[in-house]
Symmetry: none
Subunit: 220 residues, 4 copies
Amino acid sequence: MTICEVPENEPKWRRRPESRPDDILDGALIEFRARGFVGARIEDIARHAGLSKGTVYLYFSSKEEMLKELIRRTVSPIAERLKMIADHVCDDYSDKPSSEILRNMIMLVGNGLVNARISAIPLVIVGEAGSFPEHADFYRREVIDVSMDALVTVIKRGIDRGEFKAIEPHYAVRTLMGLLLMQLIWNGVFAREKDPEIPIGDLLETHLNIFLDGVRMPEE
Amino acid sequence: MTICEVPENEPKWRRRPESRPDDILDGALIEFRARGFVGARIEDIARHAGLSKGTVYLYFSSKEEMLKELIRRTVSPIAERLKMIADHVCDDYSDKPSSEILRNMIMLVGNGLVNARISAIPLVIVGEAGSFPEHADFYRREVIDVSMDALVTVIKRGIDRGEFKAIEPHYAVRTLMGLLLMQLIWNGVFAREKDPEIPIGDLLETHLNIFLDGVRMPEE
Amino acid sequence: MTICEVPENEPKWRRRPESRPDDILDGALIEFRARGFVGARIEDIARHAGLSKGTVYLYFSSKEEMLKELIRRTVSPIAERLKMIADHVCDDYSDKPSSEILRNMIMLVGNGLVNARISAIPLVIVGEAGSFPEHADFYRREVIDVSMDALVTVIKRGIDRGEFKAIEPHYAVRTLMGLLLMQLIWNGVFAREKDPEIPIGDLLETHLNIFLDGVRMPEE
Amino acid sequence: MTICEVPENEPKWRRRPESRPDDILDGALIEFRARGFVGARIEDIARHAGLSKGTVYLYFSSKEEMLKELIRRTVSPIAERLKMIADHVCDDYSDKPSSEILRNMIMLVGNGLVNARISAIPLVIVGEAGSFPEHADFYRREVIDVSMDALVTVIKRGIDRGEFKAIEPHYAVRTLMGLLLMQLIWNGVFAREKDPEIPIGDLLETHLNIFLDGVRMPEE
DNA sequence: CATGAATGAGCCTTCATTCAT
DNA sequence: GATGAATGAAGGCTCATTCAT
């Protein structure tokens, strides 16, 4: 500052914390979960990011915009991953048994349940569905429909290849996904400290076994 | 105003004041579902019951009190019904197969899903879990734990009697209940007008078949 | 409820101070004038009416709505009065000299200038013209165009009847109205306590004499 | 900054820093007119000058300071010009008729009306009179009183020399200036695109003729 | 019992102003 | 000088709750 500080010509070195938006969204997620979208206060969200109220508005134009962005960031990776899996299946997946594919898919999604950053979003959406049905719409379109379609595709493949019984795939997929949703709600709403720990891996294992045994074509 | 202006229009009054609280709670349920607990406005709740804002406070001391009472009223019947079922099972139900008992139980609960008056409550609870964890606690204690215990009891019975495989009952019960929760959330959050109708009976049927086939002890 | 409480059937006896809206508008006028539309605070407006912030919203849905209503209430009477005068003129007003008619009209409007409740409105509109051009539009349409048309009609009549010189009526009317506007601005913006009192009557008299002498057809 | 910062990229700098304050005031004038003093945003003002928000504060300590300076700069030239005219008149302008002098004066001021840079100021002052009466005071002292005095002086001269009737000069001057104010307000507040064009020269001409005919001493 | 006018705390959002770089 | 990120006071508006009638 006093002598000859050269840094004059670094045009874009400012905006030190490039992560501001992320910091804010982290805080938003916490508050949205804790008090719901309507109940969350911008000031509290800002405090989580070590900022003041007004600063939040330098990065997001409104509270609703924050929720939308939150959905977008969480949604995209999931959507992409599931799209990819679905595509792999449609490409001739040689003769890997459909049960194996389903197992991989469920495990993939199931493991996301442990990540609070991901699992919190659907909980918020469920909570605010009455007030913001458009968010539920968006989430369903981007996440739910995509993942259900992917699973249905594999179930159909299993039926076609004689691996599974002639069940109705659109019904069966609900049985398959039901546990995931149940765990989501369980962890987010009803689980308490004192509850006995349930290893998610074991739980998914049992679930998959029951489901696959239930739909497998009898040997004869 | 002062003396005796004739009660002309009194005889036609239709209000049965005894049912006031119920009328109000009906309205509350509708609004809580539509806008969430925080978003629901007392005035709108009152309008549903044909009352004015202030009158609501003659029956409930606060908005939260309404939610509590709502939960209490909805919970009781469910709890009672489930208690009854659980008792029947323990009364060694002669040798009726455990699968039949499970089927009855799931159908019983599943049919409640169609009743919006019943299914709305858990949705509200899920939505407000962040702000009112005590409500979630209450609901879990009175409804979820009771019904899960009942189902676990029957599953254990099935295992003991050699009808079911040696699965972990506390895991399996989650598979069994998963679909119910999934449908609850689906109908309350993600379902849209244009969606193809899914008959709840068929869906439950398929689900039960998969589950029972999945847990049944192999013949041989 | 117990015996014969009769007062049941007076549906509309409440709302004691029927004048609430007027009280509020009075306060609004004061604050709008004192701080401009944007600068006026609802709370201050409410205080003028002896009310609290929230109460204002029982009567007006927004601050802008208050300004609109203010314009409406002030505007209608003026518009009506001027319409009436214009109509009288178009009806054969026997042979009353046009100068007399103009004198009456100017005096009529000019006296409104003394009424702060009336004169404040245009000042507010002028002040907020940049932010709310639609209010200026409304005012011009309802008040200015109407009154100018009326005056032009009479000036034309004067020319047709040989009372006035062949001036351009649309220009002359601006000379005629200029003083009124000048006084409006003067009183509302520049006048100060210590200024020597100028009797509005004398001022208008002088103005009219100059104008009429200036437009009168030379005798000869 | 102090010692060795290389002047590499200096030669191309186009900014003439000396004109900064003027650039800023230009922007301020535009925004004050468009949104009023309260509604104008520093950031927008800065943008007009191609600067950033913070930079404005290097030249002006506050928004109000900008308004004050704006008034000062606009006022000076007008005041000077009018002073000059007034002086000329007092210097017994040989026997040039008073009507000619008045004509020159009105034309001079009237032509300023077309200059938005000049006419905007009084409009802003009128708009903010409620919040900043001291600005109105300043403007009145520096501009209005001076110009009115000058006009009154000439009118008196006309009366003394037998050119004009024995009117009250302080009243008559208001008639004379009324049109100017009317046009100011008209153009700034009520004029709309679709309005028929009115040549300011013709309008002033008509106005002057009416006024002068109205005050001229009858021949005889 | 009922009413609905009144209250006032609370929150989102804006923006003048500051200041580290 | 210049920047623009950050601040925080301020205000419009909502709505749960109270209370006079």
